[in-house]
Symmetry: D2
């Protein structure tokens, strides 16, 4: 893993993720980014599904993505990410996709997440495990 | 609607549903079949999401699909369905997809559903609205 | 349709689009936005699949989305959009989702698209029908 | 890998694959089954995307699935498969999903595939690599 990232997860493109242009559909990248965030959170003992069962939902409030290059059938890639706090209420994930083995930058995203407790904004430091996260 | 079906719902293919072969991916047909079942159940005042909130889950136990012809970008089609009880525990949906306007048969499915109450099999006639369903 | 938009398309949430939080997954909004763009382009005689068959691909180079409010099972909504040229190479779509019937703003997106001809950037005015588009 | 299967591929459930019931949606299993088939074919030097580029499409003509048990957030599982020829025109895949580590049977499928050459049925032994497959 690059020194500049806190976490990475490797994927391979699945053929059903490609659309009629023969490339991974733009919406599928959000699946990749989400799965990387959730496995990262899990590695820090924060369980997205478990939180939901307690009435706490982590939801996305904003996403920016730059698509630089298209992934296609057979490609192997990693999502690498960093996380920062922004105030008491927001988490900012910077998530970059690199195609392997050449480490070519494919897409960059900035994803802002917030916590909702029974539907209302909550301080993220009320979530167990949060202090060790950032 | 054909006289031979209890319900039908019209769809159009969305480009993101097509895979790299330029045709609707085989898995997407299950989305079409599910959406038709749920809107049918809703028309009978049975709400899939509402039941889940009460601890009752309608789940699929078996699916058989014959794919006759491929849907592709720009196609308009209907899912037509019939429903029958099978004993006290099982619902059988027969769901057929026809491409419009020529009414060409595209796919036929038989979908068996069961009810779970907090994870255990339940008699379907315990579900409000069920008696009017079949 | 609002006077302030060039096009709108109505959708209803399909239950399979909701994730374990019971709300439409963040990635699914890109499906909605794409489908609205493609049906809009079609209404202007620009066919995404047909262009691909000729070696021309319209691809997304950047997306920004603000999620204001979550869609959930049973919701009806519209995607409303405007389109502008940006130089010779880029199309900018502004796409907003409103929940009906109350016209509540759910999400706003800015989607930048470019054209590729056999994989290389192309002037958009080389695409038949493009002049009538913007 | 069990002695009784020709191939297996490990997966983990991704949270976006779960629907509002908190379990993997029935349609997503077809994605798992397809990805296992394609990686198996790739291991035998048969490339689904490459064949499409040559005008040959492997398509599904029938699927039967029995869902025994639901996969959910955090689950690890394998798809195990066997393949047989049926005449000159059809491949039959038997694909079973087992949850790990307990090797609990989750779902069983039988998937029938055929080959199309420019849209017409073709003998599968015309496909390079096919002889080593079965």
């Amino acid at each position: 893993m690059s020194d500049n990232y806190q976490y990475e997860l490797e994927f391979s493109v699945r053929d059903y993720e490609c659309d009629l242009q023969g490339i991974v559909n733009n919406g599928v990248y959000l699946n990749y980014f989400e799965h990387a965030r959730h496995t990262f959170l899990n590695s820090k003992n924060i369980d997205f599904a478990g939180l939901h069962a307690e009435g706490i939902d982590l939801v996305v409030s904003r996403i920016e993505i730059d698509y630089k290059f298209s992934l296609t059938s057979g490609d192997i890639f990693v999502v690498r990410l960093n996380i920062q706090k922004e105030g008491l209420l927001r988490l900012v994930f910077e998530e970059d996709i690199y195609k392997l083995p050449e480490n070519k930058l494919v897409a960059r995203a900035k994803v802002i997440g917030v916590g909702l407790k029974r539907g209302r904004p909550m301080r993220l430091d009320e979530i167990a495990g949060f202090k060790d996260l950032v």
